[in-house]
Amino acid sequence: MKYRLGREAIALRAAKEFQDGWVVNLGLGVPTLASRYIPEGKTVIFHSQNGVLGLGPPLTEDEMDRADYDLINAGAQFATPKPGMSFFSHADSFAMIRGGHIDATVLGGLQVSERGDLANWFSPGTEVEVIGLNGVGSWGEESNCDYVTYHQGR
């Protein structure tokens, strides 16, 4: 019998890879949760493709009184502001990604092969959950690329 890891457990596992001083892009879904689990004693700065560097973790249910529609992460969740945070346009955001200024990305995927090929934007023939491309994963060769997905999907 196979067991499926929960969202928080996957996020915690991904966060164990973070090294001190890294700038890490977090994608939609489970990856945004990894911002809750920075390893103790390490400094990690998070980047979100929608134009923010240095944001904090998603707000919890109890913190919703601080919700700001103008402060969301890649998963369109309300995020926590942090000192030193900066905002910029999508063009500048992808200059950071494609220009090699980001140390690692954590992104969601639909399927990963044993060689590390990633299917992350289309599921043919099924009712699609997400159709789209963000162009972050194609930089896996140059940045450390963590794929975060549920083992044993649909």
Binding site: L28, G29, S48, Q49, N50, G51, V52, A67, D68, Y69, D70, L71, I72, A76, F78, A79, F87, F88, S89, H90, A91, S93, F94, I97, R98, W121, V128, E129, V130, I131, G132, L133, N134, G135, V136, S138, W139
Partner: protein
């Protein structure tokens, strides 16, 4: 004296938009930085055969509710069959009450869609606004994104040519404008807005507040007024 850039309503600001127009729409996901009042005006005007260039067509359509706040999203236009083509980085989202109108029209062959990697979309718009004839990128190499595109080896790596995007109109959501159309943004609501403002023949900005010339510190202006033709004050709703 030049005509004032200030329009009294979004209806007035979109009144000349003809069927078949290409329109860029700012925003990322949800209401932050999304010009929902201009979209509502375009919905009411009933303009047809629109080509939309935006990050995403998503949301709940006529029932749209983003994290507790009702707003007008692009699915409203899809539900009214006003969209002919979309140039986007994604459609749909994981929310349970999303509108499937555009996806269903695409699967039925009623509308066209060009999927563009999100960073390539931003850069194509930037190129369109800056008069750049195109650029080479590695994103998409080895996937169906490269089909039909010129390839080139640069420094030993394979790149594909991507061409610029321009539009007849750009709909922008900014935080504040002065009467010259200088814009500042707030938080992650900046997203695609500054690049789109540069890449359309007529850029229309809806803003929370219009202030007098000189009231915004020139050091913090993100979009200079030269890029903005029309501004509409809608009041503060987003935060």
């Amino acid at each position: 004296m030049a005509r004032s850039k200030i329009y009294n309503s979004c209806d007035e600001a979109v009144a000349d938009i003809q069927d078949g127009s290409t329109i860029m729409v700012g925003g990322f996901a949800g209401p932050g930085g999304f010009p929902e009042n201009l979209i509502a005006a375009l919905r009411d005007r009933g303009t047809k055969d629109i080509t939309i260039i935006c990050n995403a067509i998503w949301g709940g359509g006529h029932t749209s509710d983003f994290l507790g706040r009702k707003y007008i999203d692009l699915c409203n236009l899809a539900e009214n069959k006003q969209i002919k083509k979309a140039i986007v980085s994604l459609i749909n989202d994981p929310t349970p009450n999303r509108s499937k109108a555009f996806e269903e029209q695409y699967r039925a062959g009623e509308v066209e869609m060009e999927l563009v990697p999100q960073g390539t979309l931003a850069e194509r718009i930037r190129a369109g606004g800056a008069g750049i004839g195109g650029f080479y990128t590695r994103t998409g190499v080895g996937t169906i994104v490269e089909q039909g595109k010129e390839k080139r080896i640069i420094n030993g790596q394979e790149y594909i040519l991507e061409l610029p995007l321009r539009a007849d109109y750009a709909f922008i959501k900014a935080y504040k404008a002065d009467k010259m159309g200088n814009l500042v943004y707030r938080g992650t609501a900046r997203n695609f807005n500054p690049v789109m403002a540069t890449a359309a023949n007529i850029t229309i900005a809806e803003v929370d507040e219009i202030v007098e010339v000189g009231e915004i510190d020139p050091n913090i202006i993100v979009t200079p007024g030269i890029f903005v033709k029309r501004i509409v004050e809608i009041g503060s709703r987003n935060h």
